[in-house]
Symmetry: C2
Subunit: 236 residues, 2 copies
Amino acid sequence: MALKAISPQNAASLDKDLMEIGGWSLDQLMELAGLSVSQAVYRVHPPSSGKNVLVVCGPGNNGGDGLVAARHLAQYGYTPSVYYPKEGKNELYQRLKTQLNNLSVPFVSDFSSALKSTNLIIDAIFGFSFGGPLREPFPSIISEIESASVPVLSVDAPSSWDIEAGPPKEGPGAKFMPQTLVSLTAPKPCVKHFRGRHFLGGRFLTKAILEKYDLDCPQYEGIDQVVEVGVKGERL
Amino acid sequence: MALKAISPQNAASLDKDLMEIGGWSLDQLMELAGLSVSQAVYRVHPPSSGKNVLVVCGPGNNGGDGLVAARHLAQYGYTPSVYYPKEGKNELYQRLKTQLNNLSVPFVSDFSSALKSTNLIIDAIFGFSFGGPLREPFPSIISEIESASVPVLSVDAPSSWDIEAGPPKEGPGAKFMPQTLVSLTAPKPCVKHFRGRHFLGGRFLTKAILEKYDLDCPQYEGIDQVVEVGVKGERL
C-alpha cells in the first residue's frame, strides 16, 4: 500500500487549516495524535514484551504527542518514564506534565541510565518541523538511541532525519533506523528511506483536507486510531 | 461487578479537580469522554446493525460529549446526524459543530422525522448536573425517545432521570429505560434503577482521584476506553 507523502510546508499548512478553519484546538489534535502513538505501541510492543517505555520528548509538538502517549501507556499498564531535557514553553506542555506527575510517571534526568532499564524507546524528539542542525543535548541523545539495543518507535519522523532528504550523511542519526514509525496525518517525504513497520495515525481528517493536500484516505479498521501501512522491508 | 456511585456534587468537584489541579482542559476531557461513548456504540451496535445514528445533544457538557462521539462515529463509517435544539454557548461547542459540519454530518431540525430513519439514538441531553425540571423542547423529545422503537444509548445518565432518585414518578421519562448506559468517570446514584448494558468510560483518572472520591478502579482491557461493568437484568 503506497501512501502519498506530504511536504513539511504542507504539513504545517494542514495543521493551520485544522485549527483556523477546522475548529480544532491543539489540545484535541495532540490528544488524538498521542492516542494513536499509544495504540501503535500496544500493537507492536504489547505489555507482555516489557512494560518499561522510555519516552524521549523534544521541545515542540512532537514532544507533546509523546507526553500524551506516555499518559495513555500508563493507563494501559505500562511503566513509562519521560526524558524531557528541553521543555516546551506552551502551557499545554506544562499541563501534560502535570497529568503525568499525577500518574506518578517519572521524569528522568539521566538518559544513559534510563536507557539501560527500558524495553522500548519512543522517539518523540522532532517531527515534520525539524530543520536541523541538532543542538545539544540531542546529538548525543540521538547517538545513544541509534546504538541502543532496544527497539525504537519514532513519532512522525525518525529524529535527526531531514524531513525531505532522510538520514543525515554522517554524524548522529546517519545510521538511525527505528523499528517502527508512526506518521501523523500523512507520511513525510523522508519515509522513503524508512525500513520497518509503518503506521499512520490521526483519524480526524476530512475529505476536503485530503483533497486539498492530495492525500490518500487510509482504511482504518473498526475503532482503531492507527492503521498499519507498510511492513518491514517493503518500499512504500 | 459492583461499582461505587458518585454523587452529582462530587462529580462536579471531581471535574473541577481534573481541570484546576489535574492539568486537564475541557477539550481533552470531552475528547476522551466522547471517544469512550463512540467505542461503546461500536461495541453494542456495530455498523453492521445499521449505520444511522441520531445523536440528541443538550446544551451542556453532556451534549458536547455527544458532539465528539458523533465525530468519531462518522470516522468509523456510521452516518450520524445531530439534533441540537438548544446550543451551548461555550466556544468549544461551536468548534465541535464546525468539525461535524466539515465531515458533512447533518444537524437536523425536525426531530420526529429524523427519528423515523435512525437505527440508534444517542441520548446526550443531560448528564450529572441535571437538576430538573425539563424545559421545552425536551419534555416532548424525551417522550418521543421513550416510546421510540429503536435502541437508545444514554450518556452518563438517562436524560430526565433525577441523578440521585432515578426515573421521574410521572410524565416524560417515567418509563424511559435506555438499552445502554455509558457512565463517565463513575456511575451516578440513579444507576441502581437502570437495567441494561452498562459501560464505564473516562480512562484518565489517577489513583489519588479514585481515593479522594472513594471510587473503584475498573479494569479496562488493552487499549479500550470503555469497560462493560454490568449486564442486562443484573443489579449493580
